[in-house]
């Protein structure tokens, strides 16, 4: 597709429950990025993929967060045992290739942990 698609739009989980978010990058884009936006403007980089390979996972809280990008499937970000502080909007972005390419963002998934 021509836009990055993210599902679901909203997700509500009780503390300790699992949350799984999905992202379909723009067709032909090799890179996928996940960001977390907390408190309105504060963005945090989580992880990036080059095709199905993890490219940079320096931002991932590895104990509870995991992510995959498998061929012919949407990418996913999974949070095991959610905590209150995981409440945020999670954005996925994709770019064609390389560091000089624009990143195209999806509409985000708002996760609320109660």
């Amino acid at each position: 597709g021509e836009e990055v698609a993210q599902t679901p739009k909203h997700l509500v989980r009780g503390e300790g429950q699992k949350a799984k978010l999905y992202c379909a990058p723009i067709k032909g884009h090799s890179y996928v990025f996940w960001y977390q936006q907390v408190l309105k403007n504060e963005f945090k980089f989580l992880i990036s993929f080059q095709n199905e390979n993890v490219f940079d996972e320096t931002g991932m809280p590895k104990e509870r967060f995991s992510a995959k990008c498998l061929p012919n499937s949407p990418c996913s970000l999974e949070i095991q045992a959610t905590k209150l502080e995981d409440s945020a909007v999670y954005f996925c972005a994709s770019s064609p290739a390389g560091s000089t390419d624009t990143q195209y963002f999806g509409p985000g998934t708002r996760l609320t942990v109660l």
Partner: protein, 111 residues
């Protein structure tokens, strides 16, 4: 990564030109300057990118002085639909593999 500083908020009347300045004193030689726009409940959207001097596209202009320690995003004749948060980013190109967003500038356009 170079740290950026921008005003937290700005107000402007419709039809005016708006200039948002970003400071990036420790910009590296290879760094590009990129601006993104974010509307409420949407993901950020690329506006413009530059390395030095002036860049113009159909949406905005970007002015970068010779020392590259600051840059100014110029939005000509803003409308209500330009109300958004504008982020200045500094790094190796628009992608930079990972983007480092600052707090951004919330622009409010008033009728």
């Amino acid at each position: 990564l170079a740290k950026t500083t921008q005003p937290i908020s700005m107000d402007s009347y419709e039809g005016q030109e708006v200039n948002i300045t970003c400071s990036h004193n420790n910009i590296a030689t290879n760094d590009y300057i990129t601006w993104y726009q974010q509307f409420p409940s949407q993901g950020p959207r690329f506006i413009i990118q530059g390395y030095k001097t002036k860049v113009t596209n159909e949406v905005a202009s970007l002015f970068i002085p010779a020392d590259r320690k600051s840059s100014t995003l110029s939005l000509p004749r803003v409308s209500l639909s330009d109300t958004a948060v504008y982020y200045c980013l500094v790094g190796l190109g628009a992608g930079s593999y990972q983007l480092t967003f600052g707090k951004g500038t919330k622009l409010s356009v008033i009728p």
